[in-house]
């Protein structure tokens, strides 16, 4: 007989919208975002917080959503790649990735986007070299790194010109 799993109701702030969802008590954030919110951009790959394909922003900081329990983050603003875009208007990071063709199979790309966006917002003076080092936590098996770095370089120089 199927027995119900132990569930709890939590309120989560995801991509600017507060919503009540029922989750299994020990559910990880990546599971919740995929299953309860249908957000495809968040992808579990290594399960141990190494590869970065499940990267989301928690109050603007890049974190691995496979390594957090959903119940730990009920007080935080959660942002995924879908949430960086404003309707049809893409975020500057997404535009830069598009412009530089920074995608191949694209499984890792939203996590990269979220990581670059978080780094640039949290470290207003970040240099290209520092940003490159931050991206060591996001793996790409296709080897799209050159295009990702080109996009990052463009974003930094655009910021410098604007500043």
């Amino acid at each position: 007989m199927a027995e119900a799993e132990e569930t709890v109701t939590v309120t989560l702030d995801v991509n600017g919208e507060s919503r009540e969802v029922e989750i299994v008590a020990d559910e990880t954030l990546v599971e919740t975002l995929r299953r309860r919110f249908g957000l495809r951009s968040v992808r579990a790959t290594c399960g141990i917080g190494i590869c970065g394909t499940c990267t989301v922003q928690l109050d603007g900081l890049a974190v691995s959503s496979c390594s957090l329990l959903t119940q730990q983050v009920t007080d935080a603003e959660i942002t995924t790649s879908e949430g960086l875009a404003d309707g049809d208007d893409l975020a500057a990071v997404q535009e830069a990735f598009l412009e530089h063709r920074a995608y191949q199979c694209s499984y890792c790309i939203p996590g990269m986007v979220v990581a670059v966006d978080a780094c640039m917002k949290n470290r207003p003076d970040v240099t290209f070299e520092e940003l490159r080092e931050e991206l060591a936590g996001n793996l790409c098996r296709c080897g799209t790194y050159p295009q990702i770095l080109e996009a990052a370089r463009d974003l930094i120089s655009a910021r410098n010109q604007a500043g």
């Binding site: 997404q94 063709r101 920074a102 499984y107 790309i109 986007v113 296709c142």
Partner: protein, 757 residues
């Protein structure tokens, strides 16, 4: 049409969804009423299954079924619970005995994934352990543990090539060299794991799978269940990376069996460690013996290859033929003797890893040639020039080489790296030594092979191209749009491409071997020719002109000499009362060198893939750490269909290739894989990318020659030897075993010091 779609730097059609993350992968696919599976795996490398206690699991919450290999063997609905491309030796769940640690022995199906996991943990197989062999040379010896009773000597494929008179040539050689090289097992690590959903309805099976080979999966599933091929439908969405890991047949039989027994649609997504347990690269031991004349010409060669097949045959038996024909490298070999043997071992079954059965031999022959060059005191680039194949030369198989550009590729990479100039850099601390190396490789493409394609035009004006080629990051569906558009004379914007679906898209052998752009391009070309002819006939009738006077211009027909008489294809079809007009095209390559396994000869490849890499390394002599600072790759593309994507293939191949060169390898302890995770098994990160990384995809000089070569894996085989040769150039130690881990380099440096001292 103002642009030629071939060579157009056209972005992937779904680029926006790729960047935002809204594109659909197989992990996103759900079916109503779907249950979830979890695999129970063997903890031991070899043994007889005495019992599997499933009672506790069966009673757990949400559990629908617990299935073992014995259940499959006893199930009347399963015609044959074995699959495999080379030999049907692999059960979806171990039957009777287990052959490697990590082999599936049972599967639990439950309402939720969590319930399936919890129940799977209670299933405990009792296995009577027997001696095991995880090393292929050990497995090859008499008296070794027997992996399959049907193959008591563990033999898993053997091929031989003999040409000229090697013995006589060795006798006249100026010098003879003999060295042995090894490359370890590794995992392709697609970031998307293997994932699939099986759904049975009225005796018909639909399988959504992250596969590179949808038609082969269909045929194998039909065979397992004793069904007509048409009773099985396989659907493949774009892959989150394949790199060979999703070739052939992988988890599909297990998922389909689980769904059959459970009586529900079943989904299975592997955890990362399970990807490591599902497919591995062939480890290899390669002995190269070479006789050269005083000029350094390789006049006599003997190559002995041993490959680790793992526990199940998969492609190994036939693959040994590919191992043979790729092992001479891009060099004239008038007198040569090659043997290749695969051996069953108690390790993860092998399959493809980008550059399959090529990266191994390329490391060996390009390291070997470098060693010979240094011993003879001949510049390594010059020694290669003296031996490289040119158009019209006979290859080791006896076939005449055509469209080969090895010399230009070598020159290109040598120039790019500054060959001949000092590698030393100002400002380097004294413990950093720099060096440069090059490597040139060739790879056959599957021959003979078949790809079909279809193009349909509709009265509503839409155009759709159909192929079963799988988009796995190379952007194949957009490439197909460009190829179809070129053949039709329209813009790629107006050509839709559908995902592979064996009910809808025509037969394709496999998305592998860098073959699809070439093969699909030719098939689409034939389809377009026939489609344009059929449209012209309809239009000629309607316009009451001779069919020869009808021309096609940008999706419309015009009458020659009367351009005002212009009708769109959609209108032609609408006027004719035809909703859709479709034509199929076929690519079928001829040739084949493997009819007699002990006497390989003939056309091994419809054309030869060609690549080269030059690398500059910095070696820290205090730690042994090798850093690849500069890298340039060159490939022969024939025609570049899309410049950015071709560049991404060549440079992505180099980046991926740095993994097995520097750190990727399966580590075993007492038959157990001890690093099946992305913490202990590292893959290249952005910090491993050479500071200077460039590439060149070379095209035909003859503008009339439009033959397209694949570029998916032309640089990867050359990376390891180029880097190993650069390490020798930097510090004078020769590493003949991959990967070039810091400890290994440091030990070699210590040994060198001891010898010198």
């Amino acid at each position: 049409m103002t642009v030629n779609p071939i060579g157009l730097d056209y972005p992937m059609k779904d680029a926006r969804d790729r960047v935002v993350g809204t594109m659909r992968f197989t992990i996103d696919h759900e079916v109503e009423g779907m249950a979830h599976a979890r695999v129970v795996r063997s903890m031991v490398p070899h043994g007889t299954i005495t019992s599997i206690d499933t009672a506790e699991a069966a009673a757990m919450p949400g559990v629908i079924a617990v299935v073992t290999g014995a259940d499959l063997a006893a199930d009347d609905r399963i015609a044959s619970p074995f699959f495999g491309i080379g030999r049907k030796d692999q059960p979806p769940l171990a039957i009777g005995k287990v052959r490697y640690a990590g082999e599936p022995v049972a599967v639990v199906v439950a309402e939720t994934e969590r319930q399936a996991r919890a129940a799977a943990e209670t299933v405990w197989p009792e296995i009577d352990e027997t001696p095991f062999a995880t090393d292929h040379l050990e497995a090859s010896r008499p008296g070794a543990p027997v992996v399959h009773d049907d193959w008591p000597d563990n033999a898993c494929g053997a091929f031989r090539l003999h040409r000229g008179d090697p013995d006589a040539a060795f006798a006249t050689a100026h010098r003879v060299y003999e060295m042995t090289y090894t490359t370890p097992s590794a995992n392709p690590v697609p970031l998307e794991p293997h994932v699939g959903v099986a759904h049975w309805e009225d005796g018909r099976l639909t399988m959504w799978s992250s596969t590179q080979w949808p038609h082969v999966v269909r045929n194998e599933l039909a065979n397992i269940f004793g069904l007509e091929r048409e009773a099985v439908r396989v659907i493949a969405f774009p892959l989150g990376g394949g790199f060979g890991a999703k070739g052939q047949v992988k988890m599909e039989p297990l998922i389909a069996c689980a769904a059959l027994v459970a009586g529900r649609p079943v989904r299975l997504q592997l955890d990362r460690d399970e990807v490591f347990f599902t497919v591995a690269k062939h480890a290899a031991t390669m002995r190269f013996r070479t006789g050269v004349d005083a000029d350094g010409q390789m006049i006599a060669r003997e190559i002995e290859l041993h490959y680790d097949a793992g526990a199940y045959a998969n492609t190994t038996p036939g693959g040994m033929g590919n191992a043979v024909v790729r092992s001479p490298g891009p060099y004239r070999s008038p007198n040569i003797h090659i043997t290749a043997n695969g051996w069953y071992t108690n390790t993860v079954p092998t399959g493809s890893y980008r550059g399959a059965l090529t990266t191994q031999v390329a490391f060996a022959y390009e390291s070997h040639l470098d060693e010979i060059a240094h011993d003879l005191g001949i510049d390594p680039v010059e020694l290669r020039r003296r031996n490289l194949l040119h158009d019209g030369d006979e290859y080791a198989t006896g076939e005449s080489m055509h469209d080969v550009h090895f010399a230009e590729l070598l020159d290109d990479v040598a120039n790019a790296i500054g060959w001949g100039e000092s590698a030393a850099a100002d400002g380097d601390p004294p413990h950093i030594r720099r060096g440069r190396g090059v490597a040139v490789i060739l790879k056959s493409t599957p021959t003979p092979s078949r790809s079909e394609a279809r193009i349909a035009c509709r009265a509503d004006g839409t155009i759709t191209a159909y192929s079963s080629g799988v988009d796995m990051g190379q952007g194949l569906s957009t490439t197909i749009a460009q190829l179809a558009a070129s053949a039709l004379g329209v813009h790629p914007d107006v050509v839709d491409v559908v995902d592979p679906d064996t009910d809808i898209t025509p037969y394709d052998a496999m998305t592998a071997g860098s073959r699809l752009t070439h093969a699909a391009g030719i098939a689409l070309g034939h389809a377009a020719t026939d489609l344009l002819a059929a449209l012209a006939e309809l239009a000629a009738d309607q316009m009451e002109v001779a069919v020869d006077d009808v021309e096609h211009v940008d999706g419309a027909v015009v009458v020659r000499g009367a351009p005002a008489m212009r009708t769109s294809w959609g209108q032609v079809l609408a006027d004719a009362g035809v909703a859709e007009l479709a034509r199929d095209g076929v690519f079928q390559s001829e040739g084949g060198a493997f009819a007699e396994p002990m006497d390989v000869k003939g056309v091994a490849s419809v054309h030869w893939h060609q690549g080269a890499v030059a690398a500059e390394v910095a070696v820290d002599i205090e730690t042994g750490k090798v850093t690849v600072e500069r890298c340039h790759g060159a490939a022969f593309a024939g025609r570049v269909v899309n410049p950015t994507r071709a560049r991404q293939q060549s440079e992505g191949s180099i980046i991926m290739g740095l993994g097995p060169t520097l750190f990727e390898e399966y580590l075993l302890d007492n038959g157990q894989l001890v690093n099946p995770n992305l913490s202990d098994y590292m893959i290249p990160s952005v910090l491993d990318v050479p500071v200077a990384l460039t590439s060149h995809n070379m095209e035909h000089v003859d503008r009339a020659n439009n033959e397209i070569h694949g570029v998916g894996e032309m640089t990867i085989p050359a990376v390891a030897p180029a880097v190993a040769n650069a390490v020798f150039d930097a510090v004078g130690v020769r590493i003949r075993d991959l990967p070039l881990r810091a400890e290994r380099v440091l030990r070699a440096l210590d040994a060198q010091e001891t010898t010198d001292g």
